[in-house]
Homo-oligomer: 345 residues x 4
C-alpha cells in the first residue's frame, strides 16, 4: 500500500493529540497537516497543544505550523478530533468540499446516512457512502466511530449475533480519561464511584442497535439493551459486566468458541493496527482488569472473561477495552485503514 497524506482537525485537543501520537509512525498514513481553532493558526504545534499524553510529542509534529480548520486546505483524508460543539458544522463543510472525514465526534453518529463503523463488526456499512454523497451533495464523505463504551459492548456482542441476541443488561465501570481534560474533578472520583455519565446510557443503547443493524444501520438491530454507566477511579480502560439473553440456546462452550474464533475484516485484511485476535477470551477467574489488560493488542483488542451461566438471562461475562485507543483515535485510524484497503480513498 503506498503512503497517503492525512490531516487532523482539532489537533490540539486531547483526542487530536492521540491522533498525532498514533499517526507518528503509521505505515500507510503520513501526517502532514494539523488544524485547530483560529487562535492557534500560524503557531508551532508544540506551542499551542497542551500535551497530556505520557508518550512524548512526536518531533515531526512539534514544529509543524498549525493551520485553521478551513475546508479545501489540507489533504483529502482528515481525521476529526473536534469537540462536539463545533464538529457538526466543520465536518459537514469539509465533506462538502471533497474531504473524507474520519471522525471521532458524536455529531453525525446517528445520521442514517453516515456509517457508524467498527471494522470488525459492520464493515459492510461503508456501502452507505454512495447514498450519503448523493443525498447530502457532498463530494467528500463522513465516517464515524462509536462512543468509547459502545465499542466494547458492540465488539463483545459481535460474535454472538449468530445465536440471536434478544436482550442485554450492561453495567460499566469507566475510566476518567473517557471524559477528556480537565474532565472529571479529582474531588469527585478519588476513592469514589459516580453512578452517572450524562448521555452515556442512551448512546450505548442506540449506537449499538445501529452498529449491529442491517441496511447500513438504517434498520437497527431489535436487541433490547439496558445500560448502567458508572465512573470509577481508573485512568484508562472501560470495564463492563454483561448479562445476555439469546433466542437460540447456545451452550457456554458455543459462546466461548464463537468468541475465540471471531475474525473481522481487519483481521482478514491484516490491517496495520488490527489486533490479532480482535477478542481475547481469558481463563483466569479475575480477569480482565483495566490496569493489566487494557493495552492488549496495542490497546485495540477487547478482553472478555468470566464467561458463565446467568441465572436470569442466559450467559454473563466481563468485557474490557481501552477507551482512548479502541474507543477514540485508534478506532478512527482502523476505520481509515479499512477504507484505504477497500479502495475508498
Amino acid at each position: 500500500m503506498s503512503e497517503i497524506e492525512v490531516g487532523v482537525l482539532g489537533a490540539t485537543g486531547v483526542v487530536g493529540q492521540q491522533f498525532v501520537s498514533r499517526l507518528a509512525r503509521h505505515p500507510w498514513f503520513r501526517l502532514t497537516w494539523l488544524a485547530a481553532s483560529e487562535r492557534s493558526e500560524g503557531k508551532a504545534y508544540k506551542l499551542v497543544a497542551p500535551w497530556r499524553l505520557a508518550t512524548p510529542m512526536p518531533a515531526e509534529s512539534a514544529d509543524r505550523v498549525v493551520d485553521a480548520c478551513v475546508p479545501g486546505r489540507g489533504p483529502k483524508v482528515v481525521f476529526s478530533g473536534l469537540d462536539a460543539a463545533v464538529a457538526g458544522e466543520i465536518e459537514g463543510a469539509f465533506a462538502a468540499a471533497g474531504h473524507i472525514v474520519v471522525s471521532n465526534a458524536r455529531n453525525f453518529r446517528m445520521d442514517p446516512l453516515v456509517p457508524l463503523l467498527i471494522p470488525e463488526v459492520n464493515a459492510d456499512h461503508l456501502s452507505l457512502l454512495t447514498e450519503q454523497r448523493a443525498a447530502k451533495g457532498w463530494s467528500g464523505a463522513i465516517v464515524t466511530n462509536p462512543n468509547c463504551s459502545t465499542v466494547v459492548l458492540a465488539m463483545a456482542l459481535a460474535p454472538l449475533r449468530q445465536f440471536g441476541i434478544k436482550s442485554v443488561i450492561v453495567s460499566t465501570m469507566q475510566a476518567v480519561s473517557g471524559a477528556g481534560y480537565p474532565g472529571v474533578p479529582s474531588l469527585d472520583i478519588l476513592g469514589n464511584v459516580v453512578p452517572f455519565i450524562g448521555g452515556e446510557e442512551e448512546k450505548m443503547e442506540s449506537e449499538t442497535q445501529k452498529i449491529l443493524g442491517s441496511d447500513g444501520g438504517r434498520a437497527p438491530h431489535a436487541v433490547a439493551i439496558s445500560a448502567h454507566t458508572n465512573r470509577v477511579p481508573v485512568i484508562d480502560g472501560h470495564t463492563m459486566t454483561m448479562s445476555v439473553a439469546f433466542q437460540n440456546q447456545p451452550s457456554l462452550a458455543d459462546l466461548a468458541n464463537a468468541i475465540r474464533t471471531f475474525k473481522g475484516r481487519p483481521q482478514e485484511l491484516k490491517l496495520p493496527t488490527a489486533p490479532q485476535p480482535a477478542l481475547i477470551l481469558m481463563d483466569e477467574p479475575n480477569r480482565p482488569q483495566p490496569r493489566l489488560d487494557a493495552d492488549l493488542g496495542g490497546g485495540m483488542a477487547i478482553s472478555i472473561g468470566r464467561l458463565r451461566a446467568c441465572p436470569v438471562m442466559h450467559a454473563k461475562f466481563v468485557a474490557l477495552g481501552h477507551n482512548t485507543v479502541r474507543g477514540a483515535a485508534g478506532a478512527a485510524i482502523l476505520n481509515a485503514e479499512l477504507m484505504m484497503a477497500e479502495g475508498i480513498f
Copy 2:
C-alpha cells in the same frame, strides 16, 4: 430499657474492633468482656489489637484484659467477629453453653434453623429460635447477619416485595474494607477494577433468597438473582446497579412511593441505631456515591438513586450501603437491639 452486659468474640480482629468501637457508647449494651485467641489471653486489649479504625480505641476497652474464647465465661449475650476458620466450632460451643451469639461470621448463615436476620426485612425469622434450640439442643442460640453486599441488595428489594419480584440482575462495585486487613493488596486495586470476589456472587444470590423467604427462610423466595461482583478502589461503601423484573407492573411512581414510605420493625420500635428512614431515595441524578453517602443514617441507611425504567426488565436503580457498618458490626448490633426489644435476651 435497662442496660445489659455484652461481650465480643474475636475482639482483636477488624470486625471485632468495629464491635468494640460501636459498642463504646451504646445506650442498652455495656461491653464488659473481650475474648480472642489464647495468644492474647491475659493481655491488655490495647497491646494485642492492631487498631485499624480512624476513630481512636475507646479508653474503657484499651486497658481491659482479654480473655480466651471459652464458653461459659463472659456475659450471656456475645457478639461474634470471629474468622470463618474458627467461628463454626466456637459459636456452636457458646450457644450450647447458653450464650446468645449474635454473629457476623458466615458459618451458620445458611443453616435452616439459624435466622439470617435483617431487622427491617425479616424480623419474623426470629421465630426460628425455639425450633433451633430444640433441634440443636442448645440452651443459648445463634443469630446471624448477612454478607456485606447481600444486605444492600436485600434492603433495596424489601419494599418492592409487594410487587412480586421475579428476577434481579445486580452488578456491584465494592469497597476494599469488605476484604478485611491486610485484605486487597494495593498493587491489585490502585487505579484498577478486579471483576471477581471469591464466593460473593453465590452468597448474594442464596442469602437474599433466604432472607426474603418465608417460614423463617426455610422456604426461600423464588426470585432469580444474578450477581456480578467487582472490587473498586473505594475505602468504604458498596455501590451496586440493579435491574428488577416484577410480576405485577408497578409504575416508577409506585416503586418510588414504596421506597420512600418503607418502614421496618427497627423504625417502628425506634431501636437505638435504627436509621430513620431506613431507605433514602435520592433525586440528584448522580447519587448515591460512596464517599458522600455511605455514612448516611450513621452508616445504617441504604441509599437508592437513579430510579428509572429498564428497557430489558422493568425498573433499574443504584443502591449503596456502608459495608463495615450496615454490612458487619452495625448489622449485628441492630440484630441484638431487635432481640432485646422483642424480649429474647
Copy 3:
C-alpha cells in the same frame, strides 16, 4: 457568651459552604446572612449552592434567600470565603462600611496592617487593628488566616520558637481539596504525584515569617524557610516532612516536651472549637497519616510524629493538618472566637 449574628461572603463557593456547614451549630455565632454574586441574589441558597460536602446542607440555610455582597447589608461580623479575584475589593469595602471581615482569602494576608492570625501562635497580632483602622480609615476591620499549608508549618514550629529556629526545610504532600472545586483534574493526580503547586512555596515561606514575627508581623521572623510543595491523591489532609535547625541545641526530649505541653490562647480561653490539645505528638512509628489523623481535634489539631535527629539539621519530623478545616473555614471561625473572647466584636 451571648450569641451574635454573623454572615458569610461568598457563601455558595466551596469555602463558603464550609462556613455554612461549620456555623450551623455554633454556640456563639448565629448564621443569619448569606451573600454571593448578583447572579444568586434573591434565590434560595439550596438552589444556587452546588453542595460539595459529605455532610448534608444545614436545613436552616437551605431555604435562606441569598443576598448580594453589598456593604452595609448583613450583620457586623462577616466571614469571607470569597475568591481572590474579587475578595480584595469587596472585603475592603465591607471593612470601610464598618464590618469586621474574618477572611480566608489571600488578598490582605501580607498587608502589614492586617493580622495574619493563628490564635495559638500570634494572638497578640490582633493589636494591629487599632493602627489598621486609623491608617485605612476603616470603621470596621479585616483579619485573615493563613494558607492551608502554612498553618500546619507555623503550628508545628510555634512551640519550638524558644529554641531559636534558624532554618527549616519542609516538603509537603497536599490533598486535592486544597485546590477547591473543580480544582485538580483527576487525570493529573490519580496514581500520580504533581511536584508543583503554583505560588504555594512562596506563601509558606513569607506567611510563616510574618506569623512568627514580632510587632504584629511587621518584623518578620528571621528564620530561613525552604518549601517543596507536592500534590498527592489524598482527599483531605496536608502531610509534610520537616527538618529544622536551631540556635540553641535542644535535645529530642526538649522538643518532645515543648510540643506535648504547648498551649495557646484558644486552649487557655477554652474557645468553642479550640482543639485540646492543639498539637498531638504521636509515638507510633508510621503516624500521622491523613486518612486516620486529619480529623483529630475535630479537624483543628495538628498531628506530629516521627520526631528524630536529622543528620543534616538538628531534628526532623512529620506534621499533618486538615487543610479545609484548620486550613480554611475552621481557621477563620477560631479567629472569630478569639476576637469575640477578646472583646473585639
Copy 4:
C-alpha cells in the same frame, strides 16, 4: 558481543518475574535457567509463578521447567531476585561455586568487598572483585545494585560531585510496587500517605555514601544525608524532593549544565539498556511526574525538574526514577551489561 547464557535465582517472585520479562529479548543474554524454591522444582514456570506484570509472560519461559537453587547447576552468570531471608546464604554458595551473581537483594550491599554498583556512577568499584575473590575464597563473585530509592538519589547527585556535595535533605514519595507483592495493603494507602518505610532512610543514607565513596566504596563519601521516606498511592515511580549544599558555590546554570551533559560508562559504551541520556533535565514547571515520566529511557533514565535556589541550602530540585526497572531488575541487568563489556564474564 556474542550471546551468553544466564539464569535467574528466585525466578518466581516479583523481582524474578521482572528479570524473566526484561531478559526475554535481550541482545546479549539468553535466559536458559530458572531457579526457585524446592516447592517449584520440576514444574513448568507458568504453573508456579503467580504472574503480576502487565506484560504477558514470555512464551519461551512459560514452559521452562523450574530448577532448585543448587550451586553448580545453571549457567555461570545468574541474576538474583531472591528474598533477603534466603539471599545471603544462597548467593554466597553460588559465588563459592564459581557463579557470578548479579544480585538485587540487600544482603551483600554493605559488604566492604562487594561492589554496590550503578554503572553511571561508580563503574570503577568493579575493581573490588579481585580482592573479593581472594578474601572470600570464591571462584565466582557477587555484585549488587542499590535499593530502589537510593538509585534515584545517587544518580541525581552523581553529576554534582564536582561541586563538592556537603549535605543533602531528601523527602521521598514512593510507589507501592517498591514493597513487592502483596506488599502494601490497600486499606493503608488508598487516598492516604504513610510517612514511614522500615529501614529505607538508613539504606538511602549509607548506601549513597558507599556508592559515591572511593576505594571501591570502602571510603564512604563524607556527604551528610538526611532522608524522609513516605509511601504514596502510586503504582510505579519514586519521586523525591532534594535540597543540596555544596562546598563550591555553583550557579544554577552550572548545575543545570552538569546534569544535562552527564554521561557515564554505559552511555560511552552504548550498553544495550543504557538510557540516552542517563539524566533528563525537564523545563516544565510541574515535572517530573511518576505517571508521565517514570518510563522515560525505557524506565532506566532519571528525570530531574524544578531546579532552583534553596533558601536554606544551595539548590533544590525534584528527581524521579522507575523503582522496579532502574531500581531493581533493570539495574542488575545494566550491571551485567557493564561487566560483560568490561570483560568480567
